[in-house]
C-alpha cells in the first residue's frame, strides 16, 4: 500500500514536470509507408477521411445554423413540417452512391494485397508468447527475435532510449526490390504481425498459416508491434524489419547459414559445467526470465518458482520433459523446438545450479539429443 502511495505521489509530481521524453512527437496521421500497398492504403484512408469531413461540414453546418438561428430565446416560432419525400429519397440515394464510389478502389487494393503469388523469398513468421521466430524457408535457417529493451528502462530506473520498446535483438532482414512472402502462424495463442510502413498486418493463429507479402523499395529499419492481445507481455513483443540491398542480404544470409552449421557442430563438443552455466544464463534470461524471473522466484501460481523446486533440484527426467515438451494446459511452452540442443542443455544445467540450487549436475547437448530421439 505504501509503495503504491509513493508511486501515486511520483505520478502527481510528474504532472508538474516537463515530460521526460525529448523525442515527443505530435504525430497526427497515418504514415504513407514504403511499399506500393501501404501507399494505396494511405490514399484510401485519405479519400474516405475527406469524404467524412465533407459530409460532416454539411450536416453539422445545418445543425449549427439551427442552433444559432432557431432559438426559442430569440422568439423564433417553430415550423411544423415533419416529412418531405424527395429529400428523404435523396439523402438515402446520395450516400449509397458515395459508398459505391468508395468500394471500387477499396476492392482493387484488397485484390492486390491478397495476391501472394510469385514471391521471390518465403519467410515463415511464428508467434510465441512473447517473441517472434523467423524461418527462412529457402535457406534453411531460423532465429528468434526478442525485445531488446532492458527491464531497467521499463521500470524507470534508467532513461529510455529513442527506440524504447521498439527494438529487438535479432531483426528480420529482407532484401529490397524483392517480393517477400510472409507465412504467418503461431505456436500458442493468437498474435498479430504488424509493420505499419509495410502495410502488413496479419493474425498469427495456431493451426493456420496466413499469407501476406511486401516489396520494399527503400533500405531502412521499419518497426511495428504485436497487435493482438496475447497475454501478459503483449506490449513487449515488437517487430523490427531491416531492409538491406540485395548483396548485403546475401552476405548476411550466408553468415546465418554458416552459424547454423556451427551450432550443429557444437552439439557434439564436450562441455564443462562452467561453459554450460555461462551459456545457460544468457538463454535463461531471454527465454525463461520473463515468467520465472531472473532470480528463479517465479510468479506463482501461473509461473512456479524454480529456486529450491523439486523439479530443478531432484527429478532430472521430469525437468527434461517439462523444458522439452512443455506442460499442456499451462503457459509452459515446449522449448524442444525453439532452442538448440546446446541451449537446452545449457539452460537446464543453469537451472539446476543457479540461485543456490547447487546440484552440481550437468546435462550435455548429446544427452538432450538422445532424449529427443528416444521420444
Amino acid at each position: 500500500m505504501r509503495v503504491q502511495l509513493s508511486r501515486a505521489g511520483s505520478l502527481m509530481a510528474g504532472l508538474f514536470l516537463v515530460p521526460q521524453s525529448a523525442l515527443a512527437a505530435w504525430e497526427l496521421n497515418m504514415t504513407p509507408g514504403v511499399t506500393d500497398v501501404s501507399k494505396d492504403i494511405y490514399s484510401l484512408h485519405m479519400i474516405i477521411f475527406w469524404i467524412c469531413v465533407a459530409i460532416g461540414v454539411v450536416v453539422f453546418g445545418v445543425m449549427f445554423w439551427s442552433i444559432i438561428a432557431h432559438r426559442k430565446s430569440k422568439g423564433y416560432k417553430p415550423a411544423n413540417f415533419h416529412e418531405h419525400t424527395w429529400v428523404e429519397v435523396l439523402w438515402t440515394v446520395i450516400p449509397f452512391g458515395i459508398l459505391v464510389a468508395m468500394a471500387v478502389p477499396a476492392t482493387g487494393t484488397l485484390l492486390d494485397i491478397y495476391d501472394t503469388k510469385d514471391a521471390d523469398i518465403d519467410i515463415q513468421v511464428t508467434g510465441y508468447q512473447w517473441k517472434w521466430q523467423y524461418s527462412y524457408l529457402d535457406k534453411e535457417f531460423s532465429f528468434f527475435s526478442n525485445l531488446a529493451t532492458s527491464k531497467e528502462e521499463i521500470y524507470n530506473r534508467l532513461d529510455k532510449n529513442e527506440n524504447y520498446l521498439l527494438e529487438v535483438d535479432n531483426p528480420l532482414v529482407i532484401p529490397v526490390d524483392t517480393k517477400v512472402r510472409f507465412m504467418i502462424t503461431s505456436k500458442d495463442v493468437i498474435h498479430s504481425w504488424w509493420v505499419p510502413d509495410l502495410g502488413v498486418k496479419k493474425d498469427a493463429i495456431p493451426g493456420f498459416i496466413n499469407e501476406s507479402w511486401a516489396r520494399v523499395e527503400e533500405p531502412g529499419i521499419y518497426r511495428g508491434q504485436c497487435t493482438e492481445l496475447c497475454g501478459k507481455d503483449h506490449g513487449f513483443m515488437p517487430v523490427v524489419v531491416k531492409a538491406v540491398p540485395k548483396d548485403e542480404y546475401e552476405e548476411w544470409a550466408a553468415k546465418k547459414v554458416a552459424a547454423a552449421e556451427k551450432e550443429r557442430r557444437l552439439t557434439s563438443k564436450d562441455w564443462s559445467l562452467e561453459e554450460l552455466m555461462e551459456r545457460g544464463e544468457g538463454v535463461y534470461n531471454t527465454a525463461c526470465a520473463s515468467c520465472h524471473q531472473a532470480d528463479g522466484s517465479g510468479a506463482p501460481p501461473a509461473f512456479p518458482a524454480l529456486k529450491d523446486s523439486t523439479v530443478a533440484t531432484e527429478n532430472m527426467d521430469q525437468h527434461l520433459d517439462i523444458v522439452v515438451n512443455g506442460v499442456s494446459g499451462t503457459a509452459m511452452q515446449a522449448f524442444g523446438e525453439q532452442l538448440s540442443e546446446v541451449d537446452l542443455a545449457a539452460v537446464i544445467t543453469y537451472e539446476r545450479n543457479a540461485w543456490g540450487n547447487d546440484t552440481g549436475e550437468k546435462v550435455t547437448p548429446k544427452q538432450i539429443l538422445d532424449y529427443k530421439n528416444a521420444q
Binding site: L11, C52, F60, P78, L99, A103, E162, V189
Partner: protein, 530 residues
C-alpha cells in the same frame, strides 16, 4: 388483448402504496421499483468500471511501468469492458425500459412482473461472481472483453470457469428482460395505440429486444464451448486437438456485432423523444426512423466478420463483409439527417437533456465516420487493434450510449421524482463530461494512426504526449460523474422546485399525462389514444 387489462377496472386497491422495508425491493413486482433498481445498479457498475478505467489511464499517463504490472493491467482492461457493457450500459437501458415503456404505451405494469423481479436480481449475483474472480488465485479474466480462444481457454486463468458462469447468468437475465419488453409492447398497448403510433423509444426497444433474444443464446453457446474445452477435454478451439481458434471469433462476433446495436438503439429512441421536445416541432420522418432502425438491426447480422478482417478470411468473404458494413452507413445516415431536420426551423432551447442529446448526435456521428473508415477492409489492416479502434468505439459508446442515458435521466427525472433537478449543476455536469470525454478520446485517433496498438500497458516514446492528454481528460470525465450522483440524490430527496405533470412544453406522449411524481400504480384503466 385488452381483456386482461379490463379486469382491473374498478379494483379497490388501485392506490395502495409500496410495501415497507427491504422486502419492498427484494420482492417487488412493480415496474417502477424494478426500473429504479436497474438504474441504481447500473450507475454503481458505471462507477466500478470507471474506476478501473482510471487505473488504466493512470498507468498510461507516462511511458514505463509505474503503478500496476502488465498481468493486472490486462485484468483491468478486461473487467472495464465487461462491466461497462454488461453491467452499466445494458442494465441502464433495461431500467429505462422498465420505467418508461408501460407509461408510454398506457399499460399498468410490465406484462410479466414476477419474471421482471427475477431478471433484475440475477444481475447482482452475476456481477458478484464476476468481480470476485479478481480476488481468486491467478486473478480475474485477463484476455480482453472479447475473450479470444485459446488465450481464454488453454491459457486462461483458473477463474475463467467463474467468468463463464457469470456470463451465463447475465445472459439469462437479458433474455428474460427482452421477453418481458416484447410481451408488454405486443399485448399491453392502450386501445388506439397502433404500432406506427408508438413512441420511438418503444419502437427501438422492441427491435433491441428481438436482437437480444437472437444473440444472447449465441453468446451462451460460445462460453459453453469454452467451458467444455477447459473442463471436459473437448477441442472446439484448440488447434492441437483439431479445433479452430477462428471459429471462436465467428461465433463471438455473431453475438458481438448485434450487441453493439443493442447498446445504441435504445439511445436512438430516447434521443428521438428528446430532440422534438426541445425543438418544439414533431420528429422529422417518423416512419423512416422506424424503418432505419429495422434495417440497421437486420444488417447487424451480416457484418460480424468486419471485426476479423486480419484473420485471413478468403477474399470473397472479405469483400462481402466490407460491402455489407458500408451499407450500414445508409440507414444510420438517414437517422442523423432526420434528427438535424427535426431541429431545423424549430424553436430550440438547451436544457440538460437537449444538451446531451445534441452532443449525442454530433459525437455519435464522429464515431460513425471512423466506423465508415474502419469498414474499408484494406485501410482496416492499418487501423485494426490500434487506438484508432479504441477511439472509434468509445465515441459511439460514451457520447452514444452513455450520453443517451444521461439525456434520458434528466428528461424523465422530474416524472420519476416529482422534483426538478438543479439545471445549473446539470449543465456543469454536461460541459465537464463533454470536454473531459473529448480530451480523453479524441487524441486516441492520432495515437492509433501513429501506430499504437490497443491493450498495452506501456508504449513507445512518440506516443507519450497524447497519452498524457488523454489521461487528464479521462480523470476529468471520471470525477465529473460524482456530480451526477449528487444531482440525482438531491432531486430524489426533493431538493428543488416541484415538477408539474409536463415540465417540458414541447414534450409529447402518455407519460406526461400522469402527475409528477408518477403514482406507484399508473394506467390501471387504459387511456384512449386517438
Amino acid at each position: 388483448m385488452s381483456a386482461v387489462i379490463d379486469t382491473h377496472d374498478h379494483s379497490h386497491d388501485e392506490h395502495h402504496g409500496p410495501a415497507k422495508g427491504f422486502t419492498r425491493w427484494l420482492l417487488t413486482t412493480n415496474h417502477k421499483d424494478i426500473g429504479s433498481m436497474y438504474l441504481i445498479f447500473s450507475f454503481a457498475m458505471f462507477l466500478l468500471g470507471g474506476s478501473m478505467a482510471m487505473v488504466i489511464r493512470a498507468e498510461l499517463f507516462q511511458p514505463g511501468l509505474q503503478i500496476v504490472e502488465p498481468a493486472f493491467f490486462n485484468q483491468m482492461t478486461t473487467m472495464h469492458g465487461l462491466i461497462m457493457v454488461f453491467g452499466a450500459v445494458m442494465p441502464a437501458f433495461v431500467g429505462l425500459a422498465n420505467w418508461m415503456i408501460p407509461m408510454m404505451v398506457g399499460a399498468p405494469d410490465m406484462a410479466l412482473p414476477r419474471m421482471n423481479n427475477w431478471s433484475f436480481w440475477l444481475l447482482p449475483a452475476a456481477f458478484l461472481i464476476l468481480v470476485s474472480t479478481l480476488f481468486m488465485e491467478g486473478g480475474g479474466p485477463n484476455f480482453g472483453w472479447t475473450f479470444y480462444a485459446p488465450l481464454s481457454t488453454t491459457y486462461g486463468p483458473p477463474s475463467t470457469t467463474f467468468f463463464i458462469f457469470a456470463i451465463h447468468i447475465m445472459g439469462i437475465s437479458s433474455i428474460m428482460g427482452a421477453i418481458n419488453v416484447i410481451a408488454t409492447i405486443m399485448n399491453l398497448r392502450a386501445p388506439g395505440m397502433t404500432l406506427m403510433k408508438m413512441p420511438l423509444f418503444v419502437w427501438t426497444w422492441l427491435i433491441t429486444a428481438f436482437l437480444l433474444i437472437a444473440v444472447m443464446p449465441v453468446l451462451a453457446g460460445v462460453v459453453t464451448m469454452m467451458l467444455m474445452d477447459i473442463n471436459f477435454g473437448t477441442s472446439f478451439f484448440d488447434a492441437a486437438g483439431g479445433g479452430d481458434p477462428v471459429l471462436f471469433q465467428h461465433v463471438f462476433w455473431f453475438f458481438g456485432h448485434p450487441e453493439v446495436y443493442i447498446m445504441i438503439l435504445p439511445a436512438f429512441g430516447a434521443v428521438s423523444e428528446i430532440i422534438p421536445a426541445f425543438s418544439r416541432k414533431p420528429l422529422f420522418g417518423y416512419a423512416s426512423m422506424v424503418y432505419a432502425v429495422a434495417a440497421i438491426a437486420l444488417l447487424s447480422f451480416v457484418v460480424w466478420a468486419h471485426h476479423m478482417f486480419t484473420v485471413g478470411l478468403p477474399i470473397a468473404g472479405q469483400l462481402f463483409f466490407m460491402y455489407c458494413t458500408m451499407l450500414i452507413a445508409v440507414p444510420t445516415g438517414v437517422k442523423v439527417f432526420n434528427w438535424v431536420a427535426t431541429m431545423f426551423r424549430g424553436a430550440l432551447s438547451f436544457e440538460a437533456p437537449m444538451l446531451f442529446a445534441v452532443a449525442f448526435i454530433i459525437l455519435f456521428t464522429i464515431g460513425g465516420f471512423s466506423g465508415l473508415m474502419l469498414a474499408i477492409a484494406p485501410a482496416d489492416f492499418q487501423y485494426h487493434d490500434t487506438y484508432f479502434v479504441v477511439a472509434h468505439f468509445h465515441y459511439v459508446l460514451v457520447p452514444g450510449a452513455i450520453f443517451g442515458i444521461f439525456a434520458s435521466a434528466y428528461f424523465w427525472l422530474p416524472k420519476w421524482t416529482g422534483t426538478m433537478y438543479d439545471e445549473t449543476l446539470a449543465k456543469t455536469h454536461f460541459w465537464m463530461s463533454f470536454i473531459g470525454m473529448n480530451l480523453a478520446f479524441f487524441p486516441m485517433h492520432f495515437l492509433g494512426l501513429a501506430g499504437m496498438p490497443r491493450r498495452i500497458p506501456d508504449y513507445a516514446l512518440q506516443f507519450a504526449d497524447f497519452n498524457m492528454i488523454s489521461s487528464v481528460g479521462a480523470f476529468m470525465f471520471g470525477a465529473t460523474q460524482l456530480l451526477f450522483l449528487y444531482i440525482v440524490v438531491k432531486c430524489i430527496r426533493g431538493g428543488g422546485e416541484k415538477a408539474p405533470a409536463k415540465p417540458w412544453d414541447g414534450a409529447e406522449g402518455l407519460e406526461w399525462t400522469l402527475p409528477s411524481p408518477a403514482p406507484y400504480h399508473t394506467f390501471a384503466t387504459p387511456p384512449e389514444v386517438k
